[in-house]
Amino acid sequence: MSFKVMLPTAFTRHTEGQKQFASTAPNLTGLLTEIDSTFPALGTQIKDDEGKLRRFINVYVNDEDIRFLGGEGYAFQDGDEVMLIPSIAGGC
C-alpha cells in the first residue's frame, strides 16, 4: 500500500524543495511520525508544543477533509492523495 502526500510551497523550505512524497503510513498518526523522521523541520512546523497537528493545518484525503473521514482513525488506502495545507480564512 502506498499513497501520495502533497505539500504547499510554504512547507518546501523544510523538504529541500520537494512538493510531494510517497508514504506507506497506516494513518495520520503514522504519517506525522514519518514526517518527523524524514523531514524533522517540517514536523516541527506543522505540530504544536504538545505534538499535535496545529489547528491551522488541514489534511485532505482525495478532496475530503480527513475529519469527515474519521480523523486519526482513518486508514489510508492504496492510491490515496493526501494534502497538507494551511487553512485560509474567508467570508464575513
Partner: protein, 431 residues
C-alpha cells in the same frame, strides 16, 4: 508603483512575529492567520473626530487607520452607509432602541464586501499584481469584478458552481473571468490557496487577506460616528468565517484607545444558519471544541464550514459576554420578509439570518429591550431572490379602466368605495 508606509505591518495572531508589508496569507512559522498591527500612537493628533468629519462621506474618511499605502489616492466612494433607527422592526420583536447598519446599499455592488475590496485592491496595486481574484460565495466576487474593472486590472474569480444566478451575472457583467468549481466554498478556498502558490495573482482573501480584512473595520468606525461618537451596547453580526465581527470589535478598540469614544463594554452576537453553524455551535459548547461542518443552507454567503477565523471569533464572543445563535432556512426567509415589511430594507439570505437571530436574542432575554443594539445587514436581497421563490403570487393584469380597477379591488379585499380625500382643495397647509 512603489509606496512606503511604516504605520502598520503584518503581525501573526498566534506567535506575534512581524513581517512588514507584503502579500502573505499566513505566518510562515506557525501558519496562523496574519493581521495588520498599527502604530496607533502615531495616529494621535491626526485621527481626530474633527479630521474624520472633515473627510469625504465614505470609508476614506478613516484612511488614517486603514492599511493604505502612502500616496494612494482613493477615488471610489465606498461605504458610509445609513445607520437607520428600526422602530417598526423593534416594536415587532420587543426592542426599543434598535438600529440597522444597512450595507445592502453599499457602493458599488450592494454588499459590505465593497469596503474590504477597496482596501485589498489598493494593496494589490502597491504590490504590482496585474491579475486579482478571490474565492467567493458571491458578494466578494461581485465587488472584486466591479472594482478591478474600474482600476483596469484583470480579474479571475472562483466560486462554488451552485451560486445564486444573480451573483454570477453580477460578476460576469464587469468582464471578470468567472471559474465555477464543483464543490462548496471550502473546496474553492482550498483551491485558491494552491493557486496563490503557483500563480502571481493577488487573491484578495488569500495572499491579500490581512489588508482586505481591515476594510471591515470601517463598519465599526461608522457605527460609532453615526451614533454620535458613542458605542452601542450590542452588535449583531452575520458570521461566515468570523472575520467581520472581530474587525468591528477592533474598530471599537482603536477608537477607545485614541480617545474618540468613551470606553464601555460592548457585547457581540453572532448569527449563522443552522445548516452551517460551526462558530455558533462553538460558542454554545465552548470555543475549544471547534468542529467543521459540511454546509447545507440557502444562506450561501455564510456557508463556510471550516472557517480559519472561527475559533478566534468564538473566543471573542464568549470573552465579551455575547452569544451566537443559528436559525433554519425557513426562519431566515421569514427574517428577510420581516425586515422588508417593517423597515423597507430588502436583504439577502445572510440578512435574513441576522434578522431572525436578532429576534430570537430578544425573545431569549439575552438583549435587553432598552439597550442600544445595532444589527449589521451586509448584503442586498436582489442578489438572492431565488430564496423567495414561490412566496409571492404575481397578480393577473387588468385593463386600464377605472371600472376594472374598482372590480379588481373589490375582488382583492372588498373595498368598493374610494378612500375620502385627506385635504380639501384650497386648504393646503404647511405643517
Amino acid at each position: 508603483m512603489e509606496y512606503s508606509c511604516t504605520a502598520y505591518e503584518l503581525k501573526c495572531n498566534e506567535c506575534g512575529k512581524r513581517y512588514g508589508n507584503r502579500p502573505l496569507s499566513g505566518c510562515p512559522d506557525c501558519l496562523a492567520p496574519l493581521e495588520i498591527a498599527y502604530d496607533l500612537d502615531s495616529a494621535r493628533g491626526e485621527f481626530t473626530r474633527e479630521a474624520i468629519e472633515a473627510g469625504p462621506a465614505n470609508i476614506w474618511r478613516y484612511k488614517r487607520l486603514l492599511p493604505i499605502p502612502d500616496g494612494f489616492q482613493p477615488d471610489l466612494p465606498v461605504g458610509f452607509t445609513p445607520l437607520v433607527r428600526a422602530k417598526r422592526l423593534g416594536k415587532r420583536i420587543g426592542a426599543s432602541n434598535l438600529y440597522i447598519k444597512n450595507d445592502a446599499v453599499c457602493f458599488p455592488t450592494l454588499s459590505f464586501k465593497d469596503r474590504v475590496v477597496s482596501v485589498a485592491l489598493a494593496n494589490a496595486q502597491k504590490f504590482g499584481f496585474t491579475t486579482v481574484g478571490c474565492s467567493s460565495t458571491g458578494n466578494l466576487a461581485n465587488s472584486v469584478a466591479a472594482q478591478a474593472a474600474r482600476l483596469g486590472i484583470k480579474a479571475s474569480i472562483l466560486v462554488p458552481a451552485d451560486l445564486e444566478p444573480a451573483k454570477i451575472l453580477n460578476t460576469l457583467v464587469y468582464g471578470a473571468r468567472l471559474i465555477r468549481i464543483d464543490g462548496n466554498y471550502d473546496h474553492v478556498n482550498r483551491l485558491c490557496t494552491l493557486i496563490a502558490d503557483e500563480y502571481n495573482w493577488g487573491l484578495v482573501n488569500v495572499n491579500l487577506r490581512p489588508y482586505y480584512a481591515e476594510g471591515s473595520k470601517t463598519v465599526g468606525f461608522e457605527i460609532a460616528e453615526q451614533l454620535g461618537w458613542r458605542l452601542p451596547d450590542n452588535v449583531v453580526v452575520p458570521m461566515a468565517g468570523g472575520s467581520l465581527i472581530r474587525k468591528i470589535r477592533k474598530a471599537f478598540k482603536e477608537l477607545i484607545y485614541l480617545g474618540l469614544v468613551e470606553d464601555k463594554p460592548v457585547k457581540f452576537f453572532g448569527a449563522q444558519a443552522t445548516g452551517c453553524s460551526p462558530i455558533a455551535v462553538a460558542v454554545r459548547e465552548g470555543a475549544d471544541n471547534f468542529i467543521p461542518q459540511k454546509p447545507n443552507t440557502i444562506a450561501r454567503s455564510l456557508a463556510i464550514g471550516n472557517p480559519a477565523d472561527g475559533p478566534a471569533a468564538a473566543k471573542m464572543i464568549i470573552a465579551d459576554g455575547g452569544w451566537a445563535e443559528d436559525v433554519s432556512d425557513v426562519e431566515l426567509v421569514s427574517g428577510i420578509q420581516e425586515l422588508a415589511e417593517t423597515e423597507g430594507i430588502f436583504t439577502e439570505t445572510a440578512g435574513g439570518v441576522t434578522t431572525a437571530v436578532t429576534a430570537r436574542l430578544y425573545a431569549q432575554g439575552r438583549i435587553h429591550p432598552d439597550e442600544t443594539t445595532v444589527v449589521c445587514i451586509t448584503g442586498n436581497g436582489l442578489k438572492t431572490t431565488d430564496a423567495l421563490a414561490g412566496r409571492y403570487e404575481v397578480a393577473r393584469a387588468i385593463r386600464p379602466r377605472l371600472a376594472d380597477f374598482d372590480a379588481y379591488l373589490k375582488e382583492l379585499d372588498g373595498v368598493s368605495e374610494p378612500e375620502p380625500e385627506l385635504v380639501a382643495a384650497g386648504d393646503v397647509r404647511v405643517l
